[in-house]
């Protein structure tokens, strides 16, 4: 029988995995990150304030695990293979609608943005976190999240010919 914390944790796993994939773009590495996150979350569960949402807390753990790992990978000189990025899967089918085309264009434009801007977009626009929650995940001030996100969205708009 799970308690509320474990239930919320399990509930967040698909979102955590998706976030992990957006960071590392490798399914095996993403799974390791999620597993590490679960371990650290269970060990540190007393540090989560139950009055706040669990997701930002978990995302932060995962992101820190990712940073740890990339640091280690950097010293090992390991290459991260971007080619088999699961997000690169193309959307196709017999009916490519206007909306689908628009999404593809948005995705393509987003892929050209700097990583720090993509990251705030993922947290705020994809995961629907507040600016403050995204700031908690990234460990940066809320104002920085806002200016970064605004820059990213303005760049996206100009790449897509909006405005």
């Amino acid at each position: 029988m799970r308690d509320a914390f474990e239930r919320d944790l399990v509930d967040a796993l698909p979102r955590l995995r998706r976030f992990a994939l957006s960071l590392c773009r490798r399914p095996d590495m993403a799974d390791d990150l999620v597993q590490t996150t679960v371990e650290r979350a269970m060990a540190g569960r007393s540090r989560h304030d139950p009055a706040t949402r669990l997701d930002p807390w978990l995302f932060r753990i995962l992101r820190n695990a990712w940073i740890d790992q990339t640091r280690r990978a950097a010293t090992r000189g390991t290459e991260i293979d971007v080619a088999d990025a699961p997000e690169a899967a193309t959307i196709d089918g017999p009916r490519v609608t206007e909306a689908t085309l628009m999404l593809q264009r948005t995705e393509a434009a987003m892929a050209t943005l700097p990583a720090d801007q993509r990251e705030v977009i993922v947290l705020v626009c994809f995961e629907e976190m507040s600016y403050a929650e995204a700031a908690e995940v990234l460990g940066i001030p809320k104002g920085t999240v806002m200016s970064r996100l605004a820059r990213g969205r303005a760049a996206l708009a100009s790449k897509m010919g909006i405005e």
Binding site: P14, R17, P27, A43, M110, I162
Partner: protein, 246 residues
Amino acid sequence: MNPTEFDDATLMAYADGALEPGEARRVAEAAEADPAIAARIDMFRETGALLGALGAARPDEPLPDDLARKVERTLADARHADTVVPLRRPGPAWRPAALAASVALIVGAVGGIMASLSLRGPEDPAPSLALLDAPGIGDALDRLPAGSRGIAGDGEVEIISSFLTDDGAFCREFEFDRAAGGSIVSIACREDAAWTARFAMVTQGADDTGYAPASALATLDAFLSTIGAGQPLSAEEEAARLSARD
């Protein structure tokens, strides 16, 4: 570019509905007066909608089986660590070590009310607070050291801890898991060589042990403090008490 008195972050926050009402009003007024501001806000609205749609269109992949299994194991290990280690935790922070989750019903049984409680629903015959009458439970309380389990009645007894109350009564906290499902966490104290239930918490969920909700723990804490429960006895103290029966 944005040539207005409001920076992009503020206009974006306005488009996202994240501004304080006062500031939002000022931005709205400025947008009404200045088409450039209105256009900038529209741009943020549009990118917000597009990115939101892109986020919503992401595949909702289930967890790979392999990962799901690993996570389950991690959760089980953490639970195990939590149920085993604190049995003799020092300090006044009393916690039942192995409460099944979701408490269905709580009955303070000071003095030993022989109430009949439904464990899982009307279709399921209920164990009652007369549970100490079930064959083997009194014996298990006499015999088992804290942290161990034994067959008793129509289920298993796990002794969580032993302690003395202010007035010197020897009491034990234990969990009784019925084979048919459901469990009770109880405090029983030995009075005149017989065990009397002083507290029982009927819990649900027979399939696994887990954490009790904090509110349930608080109830047990409150009860323990009202009877002046002392620190958990050491293994030696407990053994001495158990052998001194009768």
